[in-house]
Each structure stands twice: as structure tokens, then as C-alpha cells.
Subunit: 319 residues, 2 copies
């Protein structure tokens, strides 16, 4: 009987879940609106139950579940100290799931899990020192140094979105000024286009579609990629990564994002070479792949992950 | 017979060396102008030879030598890929010393070694996640995360002095603009006081002595501590340290430095607590203590270092 895990990525608006078998094939996928508070826990539990059912019908042996979430996550205890968008505080997420499900459950941080996945089977395969900058509604980073993910003293490492890039710059929703996220997150790109007088566009993707035809879109995008390069120059000076990976929704812009970021980063680093800047291969599914890797680590099949270096079914854009 | 090592810290202007015995007592100290190129290697060699002689006269058994240096240092191979101030490029420093001396020699990075020493026997005792910001002529950081020193892909991690803190800010000697070092390094504080019209002061210490009496000194110092807090807010968001340690020559300013940096850091971090900011306990001797720890690691007496948690002879200000 083929072993499998259920992998769950709790996003700000949607919870995405899938069954991943021990050959690294995604066999079933489900998603559901995230909600908040206890409701989110119930959503996660019922997605896992539904996928367990689908897996069993498919002849799979579900060995564990892996759940990744934003917030202050302690992977060892399986608890979430704080997750603002989900309304969680001091939640023992592992206990809330493992008991009712009767399965081992891993609890991880969404962006760090995405970094783990990029290192195992994405564009950072085998890299011991790299940065994954996850560009979504907000911005966060997975920092890998010497082969280890940086967690920090209070599980709060990687808040790259709130690096200041302009002293006394734009107001960030976090309360500070000049945060990277206030210029370069997906939400900021759309907001700044509107604030500059642009109409009819409510997403970063919409701004990207206007590049080369709309000077306001060009300016807003240029300021976003410049802020990113600025933040990445700091990350490069501090951590000396061999590689920078751009992931998350904004990375769907492809080379319209990657090329100006890489070029500006090289300009900003006068006295050392810039590391190469690459786009995520796993796309929005990186968090789920990370959750699957963390779940398999709880099982006797943990070693199967080593063979996934090329996923049999590409994660694709659908995520 | 008591075991000992010779510990050497190669500074920009002075090479400082001492004998450290296996109880953590500094028994002899020597220093010499650094020079550059082959001359520096000869200076280091003859300091070690002189201190070996003094140690033997003292009844000590010299087991190894530890040398720490600025630059791109590969501690595993004992080589220095590049050290601009010393004029070194692709230098096999270990071979240049170990052969002639007939001793095992460790080669390390000066600031990372200082971080190691602060963690073993300084103010960061036992901390698994902390940042040491070493403030001298320039600025560099030792970054400890999850109990490990961050080295980076090319041994170039920790260049905190060249984090940009003001886009399009002051020209830095490195060729970039707005680097932290252009505002807050010792050399920058003295230079900016002169550039602002101040006369008769050529050192940061001189500027500190004028605080509260000279508005220009107050302004330059305020801009320096604000730039430091700005850089530290980035380090805090990225690495989530439990502690920040200020070391190097500028830290001799004591609370005139620590208090405004800590206060401004707390102001800048709106939505998370700031880690405590402390002054180095080891002062300018931190690098030498780190060199001693790294040298003992080459010997059968390596475990002796665990017992040093309080150095028997305080390193003091003399360094």
C-alpha cells in the first residue's frame, strides 16, 4: 500500500490542501475559504478528513498530516503564539487536529516551509545559503544559512516585509514608515497605482499588464522593484546567500519582476558580486510541498522525500 | 604542565597578541604595528614566537596558536581570500604560520571570533540567537542564529556596515551611498563632525566628550545612533535575536551609545518588542578571546574553554 500525507497551507483568504504520496505525486486537491478563529481550525480539520477519505478510496495509506500557517509558529510544540490575520493567539494547533483526526500532525511556518520545499525540490535544490523572498499580499522571507532555516529567538525571524527601506517613507499598515512591504507587496503595488491616480486596476497583476503602456504603472512597478533590490542588498550584505529566490503571487510576473530586481541589486552592490536572482519553480504550491515534507518527517517513510528532487507532477501555477 | 595558546587579533593598525592559559587567564600581551602584505605575516609570526618564548619561560606548554583577521576568511582551509586593508589576496595564512612555527594554527574571522567569545564568556553567554555589532573604524556584525555563526556562501556574511540606511544618502568609501558605516562608524562620526564645521576633534571619542555642550556634536551623534537603530531594526525583523551586543571601540562610549540606540530601536519597532541592547563585556579584547577559543579547539584541552564562563582576569578596556 502506498503511503501518503495530507498537506495543508493556511493562506490569508484560502486554505489549500492536497494528498501527496510517497513518490511525491499530488493526488487530490481541495480548498476552502479561510475564515478566522475556531472556524479556521474546523476548516482545516474537515479538509484533512475529506482528503483522508479520498486517499483511502484511492488505495493510499495516510500516515500523517502537515499544516503550515503564517504567524509566530513553534514547530517543536506545534503551537501558534500569534497569527493576526487568523485571530489566533496561543493556539495548540497540533492538539486541536491530531486528537480528533487520530493522525500525527506537523505544524510549521508557511514561508519557512516554502523555503524547505525550494531547497528540497525547487530552484534552490541543495543550496546551503539562500534567501526565499515570498511576495504575496505581504512579504516574508525564508532565510537558509549553513543548511539551516533561521527561526529566531521567538520564531519571528524572516519578517523582511518590515525592513525599513525609506526612513520616514510611506506609512505601512503595521504602524511603521518606509517598510519594504509598503512599496513592493502585491497589495501595495495595487494601492500605490490607485493613489497615483490610476483607475480600473485593483491588483498587482493588473498593474503588471499595463507595463510599457502606462507611465504610472511603470513608475509604481519601478519603485517596487527598486525597493525589493534595496532590501535584497541588505540581505546580501548580512547573509551572503548563494542564491535569491522570488516566490509568491507577485513572482507570477516572471521576468518583469526578476530582471529589474537582479539588475538593480547588481547596481547597488558596488564592491561584491550579486547572487543570482531566480523565480520560484514551485510557485504558490511551495508551502504545501513544505507541509508534505514536514509531515513525512513524522513517518517511517521520511526518507522518501530525498527522491522527490524532481516532482513527478509539477506543482504548476494553480497551486 | 599548564597548557596555553597564543591568541592573535590582526587589527587595521595594530596586531594584538596574548598568551591564554587553559584556565582562561591572559598571561602575557604584546602588540606591533600591522603593516601590510608579507610584512603583516612576518609581524604575526614574530609576535607568536616572542610569546611562545615568554610562555615557556613561565612554565607553560604552548599547544596551538589562534589568529583572527578581517577579510574573507575560510576557517576550514585557513586561507584569506581577500583582506583589503592588509593587501592580502588568496593567502594560505595557516600554512604561512604553522610550518615555520611548528604549531597547529587556527585562522578565523575577527568579528565572528568576537561573537564566539561574547557567547562563551561575555555578555551573550549561552545565547543561541544574538547579534554582535562591532563598531570600530568600520562596522561589521557577528550573527548567531540557532546557536551557529552565520558565515555565508562565500565567507562574506556580517557586512552590516554596508547595509543601506538612507537611499541616495552620504557617499561611503566603499562606493555605495547611504551605508550604515557612513554615519555610525568611528571614522564617520569624526569625519562628519569636521564636515559640519567642527574643529579640533579627530576621533569619535572626541565627539562623545562634547555631547551636551556642543550642538554639532549632539547632532552628529544623534544621526549616528539613529542610523544604528535603523540598521538594528532591520536585523531584528530578519533574525529575531534575543539580544543585541554593541562592541568595538565606539562601544567605549558606554551608555551615551547604548541608551539612545536602545530607545530609538524600540521606537522603530512598533509591533514587536525590541531585544535588549547591551554593551560588550570583553571590549576590544573580544577578538583575542575568540582566537584563543578557536586555538584551544585544535588541542586535546578544547573542553577547558567551557570553564571560562567568567574569565579569571577580566579582559578590561586596555584590550
Amino acid at each position: 500500500m502506498t503511503g501518503a500525507v495530507v498537506a495543508v497551507d493556511i493562506g490569508g483568504t484560502t486554505v489549500k490542501a492536497s494528498v501527496v504520496d510517497d513518490r511525491g505525486v499530488r493526488r487530490h486537491q481541495r480548498s476552502s475559504p479561510t475564515g478566522s478563529g475556531d472556524r479556521t481550525v474546523a476548516v482545516v480539520r474537515s479538509l484533512i478528513e475529506a482528503l483522508c477519505g479520498a486517499a483511502i478510496d484511492d488505495g493510499l495509506d495516510v500516515l500523517a498530516a502537515g499544516v503550515v500557517t503564517p504567524g509566530l509558529v513553534d514547530a517543536e510544540t506545534g503551537t501558534v503564539a500569534y497569527a493576526s490575520n487568523l485571530g489566533w493567539r496561543d493556539l495548540d494547533l497540533r492538539a486541536a487536529l491530531a486528537g480528533p483526526l487520530g493522525l500525527p500532525v506537523s505544524v510549521g511556518h508557511d514561508v519557512r516551509a516554502a523555503g524547505r520545499a525550494e531547497r528540497h525540490l525547487g530552484v534552490a535544490r541543495g543550496a546551503d545559503d539562500f534567501v526565499l523572498l515570498q511576495l504575496g499580499t505581504g512579504i516574508a522571507a525564508a532565510l537558509v544559512t549553513g543548511g539551516a532555516l533561521v527561526t529566531g529567538a521567538g520564531s519571528a525571524a524572516g519578517e523582511a516585509g518590515h525592513m525599513p527601506v525609506h526612513p520616514d517613507g510611506e506609512q505601512c499598515p503595521c504602524g511603521k514608515r518606509g517598510c519594504l512591504e509598503a512599496y513592493a507587496a502585491g497589495a501595495a503595488v495595487a494601492r500605490r497605482y490607485g493613489a497615483g491616480g490610476g483607475a480600473g486596476v485593483t491588483t498587482a497583476r493588473g498593474v503588471v499588464e499595463l507595463l510599457g503602456r502606462d507611465p504610472l504603472a511603470d513608475r509604481v512597478w519601478n519603485e517596487a522593484t527598486r525597493a525589493l533590490a534595496f532590501g535584497l542588498s541588505t540581505l546580501t550584505m548580512l547573509l551572503d546567500p548563494a542564491l535569491i529566490v522570488l516566490g509568491g503571487g507577485l513572482a507570477q510576473a516572471g521576468d518583469a519582476l526578476r530582471v529589474p530586481v537582479e539588475r538593480t541589486l547588481a547596481d547597488l552592490l558596488v564592491w561584491r558580486d550579486a547572487p543570482p536572482v531566480r523565480l520560484s519553480e514551485l510557485g504558490p504550491a511551495a508551502g504545501q510541498w513544505g507541509a508534505a515534507i514536514e509531515a513525512f518527517a513524522l513517518t517511517p517513510s521520511a526518507a522518501c522525500v530525498q527522491a522527490w528532487a524532481r516532482p513527478v507532477v509539477p506543482a504548476g501555477r494553480g497551486g
